[in-house]
Amino acid sequence: MNMHSLILRTAGHFLLPLLLLFSVFLLLRGHDEPGGGFIGGLVAAAAIVLYLFSMDIRSARKVLRVDPRDLLGAGMVLAVVSALPAAFLGQAFFTAQWWEFTAPVFGEIKLSTVLVFDIGVYLVVIGSVLTIMLNLAEAED
């Protein structure tokens, strides 16, 4: 799998944190503007896949730290759980719940079940894409 390219390896090292940061930016931006959990998750997965191409499977798994299937499970649970709070307040499932508060440094912060759902989607996309990619890469070895 290793491409033995100095340029690719160097670029992969530098791009990985940038792309991951960008994916989080896309995830958070997605509420009102183009972006969201799906796109963000794809960018994050692409960052890891780039790392996989420039290095090898072992280091790709190491940089991910967790098994992609755990990400998949956690993401699905988050997405489903985000539908539930509304039910306890007597509203229909999936009705958005908002909490606003002011934090010292960040100013006004709005949190919502919509964000929880998006984070769930983000994790599901990373988990499923990387489960497929890593398995394919291992099958090729």
């Binding site: 299937r69 755990d70 998949l72 499970g73 956690a74 699905m76 649970v77 997405a79 489903v80 759980v81 539908a83 539930l84 509304a86 039910a87 007597g90 509203q91 229909a92 499932f93 999936f94 009705t95 958005a96």
Partner: protein, 501 residues
């Protein structure tokens, strides 16, 4: 706010997500399988009771009002269908405890099972035509993955036919949705039904109706779109076959019942006449195919097709009694058919084959299983006092009252042929002596783990007997659903009641 209508979808989604999370532990997945489907069964029974008491139950998901948001709607038909899906889901999960094997569990059998059930229940409960398409796709993805678990050559071959045909049907479905939206400007089924009655171009409506007929006809395995079913249903694990046989095609039948009562009720003489021909051809081809085969699950697969014909016949006659019969038939069929497939799994463990020619003598070694087979088999053929007799009786009586004698004749002949091929299985598998020269490839006949394969079979057989002997409440439920189906204004009022004022 009545939560009961969303729980049959939320519970399997949650159980599926949790069992992906615990993918390392076989025990946790099995426990989640039984507990999740058990909780779902309880929730569906609750929904049925609520619907029985209060009539239509509607929930606007995310509090987006109809007709703009997606609504979940439960009427009697939908509630009955989700209860059946709960029963079959639970039975399959219990059966899987000893019938599915570690390899399938490792490759995600349980999460896929939950996802499939969520898709089935979502399709039954949604009140939005595009959302129905989405649930169909959820089912297709889950069922494709379940179909190839195990990865044998025959499975891949069956799965490719299955997916190709179903994708084609999805494309036609999507086209029909596009045309519907162009004509009415809405995707909410109640709203479509409401608006179509004011549209003047009835020719275009009939064209769209035929597109839906083809799309759902493929899903329901109706004539002439059935050939993917016998090509694929005999290949996967028995538990998966039983689940598919019980539920998947019936989602197509349900969709036909829904759109051809709620939406396309303008030109009944034309559309439902076509449905009647489809029904007759489906019954005949299915049963003739079954008569020609000698593989346990293939015979049963062809019988699914012929039984689908009876259900569509109930819809096509479009009288109150016929719809009662159609709904009753669906209830009886799902339980009986899933049970027959589960029994074929037990005989497979005993004999190591599904070929009738290589089996035999089970009645001598295991008379109990013989009786358990005879109950659903004779019920399928329509012998009193089992559930199938009443189902067939209602439909045929409705056919005579509607003076559609030729369809009645077809239905009666098909009933006889069904009896023939059930007796064929009985004679080959249970009655005749074990053929000489064929060794039992005995697998695992120890009673320890096998017990979980017997429990759901006995449970479903008891239900078959109960429906036959104590059918009055079942009939009442079917009658109430038929009454609601024939008066779509109730459904429209329940969904759009507030919006129209």
């Amino acid at each position: 706010m009545n939560m009961s209508v969303a729980l049959p979808v939320i519970i399997p989604l949650l159980a599926g997500a949790l069992s992906v999370m615990f993918w390392r532990s076989h025990f946790a997945q099995r426990a989640l399988g039984v507990l999740g489907t058990g909780a779902m069964l309880a929730a569906t029974v609750w929904l049925l009771l609520e619907t029985w008491e209060h009539g239509h139950i509607v929930m606007e998901m995310g509090s987006w009002p109809a007709p703009f948001g997606i609504v979940l709607v439960s009427d009697m038909l939908a509630a009955i269908m989700v209860v059946l899906s709960g029963i079959i889901g639970f039975a399959t999960a219990v059966y899987s405890l000893s019938g599915i094997g570690k390899m399938s569990e490792k490759f995600g059998y349980y999460p896929l099972l939950h996802l499939l059930l969520a898709g089935v229940n979502g399709a039954f409960l949604t009140g939005d035509i595009f959302n129905l398409y989405v649930w169909f796709e959820v089912m297709l993805v889950a069922s494709f993955a379940l179909l190839i678990l195990g990865g044998e050559r025959a499975q891949m071959e069956g799965a490719i036919k299955y997916v190709t045909l179903n994708l084609l049907s999805s494309m036609i479905f999507l086209t029909a949705i596009g045309l519907t939206y162009g004509l009415t400007g809405t995707l909410n089924m109640a709203d479509i039904g409401d608006k179509l009655s004011t549209v003047e171009d009835t020719g275009l409506i009939t064209v769209i109706a035929m597109l839906y007929l083809v799309a759902f006809g493929v899903k329901a395995a109706a004539f002439p779109f059935f050939f993917w079913l016998p090509a694929s249903y005999h290949t996967p694990k028995v538990a998966v076959s039983a689940l598919f046989a019980g539920l998947l095609t019936k989602v197509g039948v349900y969709a036909l019942f829904r759109v051809f009562t709620l939406i396309f009720n303008q030109d009944v003489d034309y559309t439902h006449e076509i449905l009647l021909w489809v029904a007759a051809a489906t019954m005949l081809t299915g049963v003739l195919g079954a008569a020609a085969h000698y593989e346990f699950r293939r015979i049963l697969s062809f019988h699914i097709i012929s039984q689908i014909g009876y259900m569509i016949m109930g819809l096509a006659l479009f009288t109150p009694l016929a719809l009662v019969g159609g709904v009753f038939y669906i209830m009886h069929h799902i339980i009986v058919k899933a049970n027959l497939f589960l029994i074929s799994g037990i005989t497979f463990v005993m004999k190591g084959t599904h070929e009738l020619k290589h089996m035999g003598g089970i009645y001598r070694t295991n008379p109990m299983l013989g009786v358990l087979f005879l109950i659903p088999a004779l019920s399928l053929a329509g012998l009193p006092p089992l559930s199938g007799f009443f189902a067939k009786f209602i439909i045929i009586r409705a056919g005579i009252e509607a003076e559609a004698y030729w369809v009645v004749a077809v239905a009666l002949v098909v009933g006889l042929l069904t009896l023939y091929s059930m007796i064929k299985i009985w004679a080959e598998v249970f009655w005749k002596a074990q053929p000489e020269g064929v060794e039992d490839e005995l697998r695992d006949v120890s009673s320890g783990p096998m017990i979980w394969m017997w429990v759901p079979v006995i449970m479903l057989a008891l239900m078959t007997v109960a429906i036959g002997l104590y059918g009055e409440p079942i009939y009442q439920m079917a009658a109430m659903s038929a009454e609601q189906l024939l008066d779509p204004s109730q459904y429209i009022e329940a969904v759009l009641g507030e919006a129209r004022q």
